[in-house]
Amino acid sequence: MTGTLLSIKGLTKAYPGVVANDTVSLDIGTGEIHALLGENGAGKSTLVKMIYGLVKPDGGTMQMRGAPFAPPEPRSARAAGVAMVFQHFSLFDALDVSENIALGMENPPPLRDLAARIRTVSEDYGLPLDPYRTVGGLSAGERQRVEIIRCLLQDPKLLIMDEPTSVLTPQEVGILFETLNKLRSEGTSILYISHKLEEIRTLCDTATILRLGKNVGTCDPRETTARQMAEMMVGSELQTPKGTGATPGAAVLDVSGLSLPAPTRFGTALKNVHLRLHMGEVLGIGGVAGNGQDELLAALSGEMRAAPDAIRLKGQDIGHLGPTARRRRGLLAAPEERLGHAAAPDMSLTENALLTGAVREGLTANGFLKWGKARSFAERIIETFDVRTPGPDNAARSLSGGNLQKFVIGREVLQRPEVLVVNQPTWGVDASAAAAIRQALLDLAGNGTAVLVISQDLDELMEVADHFAALNEGRLTDTRRTGDLTIEEIGLMMGGAHDGMGIAHAEA
């Protein structure tokens, strides 16, 4: 390390009703991997956007190698040597790799030269890429490579990475870390945003922890335990959900030979999926994003229809039935995307309660709506699951992510399902809401419901699931007992034989 690259002093940014960053100060050294740690909503994204020129600070200053640094737009930030890999990829599906990379550069060379450079640089850093492939057809890991290569081609002084491992298999994470270590040895600084503590402990030199927009401490992650960092991040003692410990009962849901074509051009086809779910069991399904999670949920909820006997509920064929008929029989679901899929953003919570509750809660009579009953159902969800909102007349989009997610999960849990399928139940949710949701799922299983949790968060699955299986390119692995699994085995299950990428390059 040879001194400070970027020095941030007293950065402040307020949005209506919330101070996203409150006089945040930190220094990033040259050739340092600096972790930025914090919960959702702690202000990490806002801070990074200010460094990248997407958001203007209300107050405070930044200095780049001693010179004032206040980028009015991303272009100037890039010119100053700042590059960013986004959490939600900023890629264009219909364009090819080289076009995508050209868009992120100020003065790109002609596309043919660029393609050659992409090949060289990507080989050099152990992230091989074909410049002429359409981005929409790439896996999540490959898409991230495109972003990284795009940054590397600009010889950045500071590389910002926002939650880079959330879409990777453990093996892919290994490859990424090698690349980042190589960059560090070449003198590049990296600002590494994550909430995964173990990763930060293996990779980073320094960690700054944000809570509610404030810098609550800087530490050397190698010297600090994960638990200490977690407590700084959350601000209170962590509560881990308690498992049910109950032994699963009779099989209720039987999926056999479920195959469905991809619903959209860039979707995933389900290939011969088999699974069996028992009463009181929590089955966790892991896998990297985009490997068929949405499709599996849609197939189980009834949004996508299958052959009648591909899905059987308590011995009855239900594969051909729609969502309403499945709900009536006790199969409920909660999709990943809260706004627009699980809930209608501009509709009130009462109306959103009606969205799935109509059948089982008896909210209609001869097709006519019982508004009073719907409203009290919504109120019951709000009360039982501690949803923070002025009342059931408020629009779904006025709720914070965690509160809306509690509403969405609560809505299904209160309908006493026989089988509940959830996808990413705690994605983008603050820690206390996440803990509450996990506990609710465990309680539900304790009362005999069969619960299927699809998640990309392995820690979450290990915490709640009795059994584990992984999705890979629309195929589901065999189910294993969670307790018997090692992290390597999980990685292999998630990676599958998937074009050799994970394993082959890990050895390379």
């Binding site: 997407l54 264009f92 364009l95 868009l103 992120g104 790109p108």
Partner: protein
């Protein structure tokens, strides 16, 4: 009925002429849609262009000035649409309809004093030597300048979209406006420029109808050409070259049915007049199987948050 009056060379030559208005409007709308904006106001912009071009040509005696005015008129109306959808974030479908209704009203108001007049004839431009080639000379090389302008425009749009950086940025904005914004591109500015280009093209297409193809001014004279241009973009799967192909197809149908009318086919005229619209529906049905080529952000509202 006398089919011998239909000569292939003349038929093909007038096909090129009949195709030009929808070709111009279609290529303009293609650029707009590639930028991720659905402007259903093409009909309104065409009719506005038709009257602007017509009035200015009458007043100045110069068809060139007329076409310039038509482009300006179309672009001006398009700017209204741009302000509504990009600044006021209004629904694009509703705004496009509003533009059409508004344009129809505006044009008939502006055109009151011009009904029944004859504009200066736009000179045909016979390309030396080439126009003397038998058959082909008449079909391809003996037209007015706007026909060549239209062909040139298609080629230019094709090349720009495929090879230039500006084209790449335009496609990127249409594909994923959030990502384009994150990379620092000015989504709203780029879209408004594209919308105005589309308006100018539609205006030129409209003026071509009132100045060359008909040539005179009557209310509502574009009679659905703007909507056919919209269908053309779907037909073309958002590819410039196929806009040309589609325009010729529609031009061919139009010319053929007009010729059949003239030849006195034993079908009432009205049924023949329906045919371009019915063909459009048929083509839409055939093409709608492949939705995948549509720009992914088409019609979605963009609001940069934070």
């Amino acid at each position: 009925m006398d089919l011998s009056s239909i000569t292939p060379a003349l038929l093909l030559a007038s096909l090129m002429v009949a195709a030009t208005p929808i070709l111009l409007a279609g290529i303009g709308e293609l650029v707009v849609e590639r930028a991720g904006v659905l402007n259903l106001g093409v009909e309104g912009m065409m009719i506005t262009g038709a009257i602007c071009g017509f009035a200015v040509t009458i007043e100045t005696g110069s068809p060139l000035m007329g076409f310039v005015a038509a482009a300006a008129g179309g672009a001006g109306l398009a700017l209204l649409f741009g302000a509504l959808t990009q600044v006021a974030l209004a629904n694009q479908v509703a705004s496009g309809l509003a533009l059409t209704l508004f344009g129809l009203g505006l044009s008939s108001l502006l055109g009151q004093d011009y009904v029944g007049l004859k504009p200066v004839q736009t000179p045909a431009f016979k390309i030396p030597l080439l126009s003397d080639i038998p058959f082909l000379g008449r079909v391809l090389f003996s037209h007015d300048l706007m026909v060549y302008f239209g062909l040139g425009l298609v080629a230019a749009v094709w090349a720009l979209l495929k090879y230039s950086r500006a084209g790449l940025i335009l496609r990127a904005v249409g594909e994923n406006h959030d990502a384009a914004h994150a990379l620092g591109y000015k989504v709203v500015r780029i879209r408004i420029l594209a919308i105005m280009f589309g308006g100018a093209c539609a205006g030129l297409g409209g003026a071509y109808i009132s100045l060359i193809r008909v040539p005179q001014w009557t209310e509502g004279m574009t009679s659905g050409a703007g909507w056919i241009a919209l269908a053309l973009v779907v037909f073309a799967s958002w590819k410039p070259g196929r806009v040309l192909l589609g325009a010729w197809l529609f031009g061919g149908v139009t010319v053929l049915q007009l010729n059949l009318q003239a030849a006195g086919l034993a079908i009432p005229v009205e049924y023949l007049s329906m045919s371009p619209y019915l063909i459009t529906i048929l083509v839409l049905v055939i093409m709608s199987a492949d939705k995948s080529r549509a720009p992914a952000s088409l019609g979605r509202i963009f609001h940069a948050s934070g």
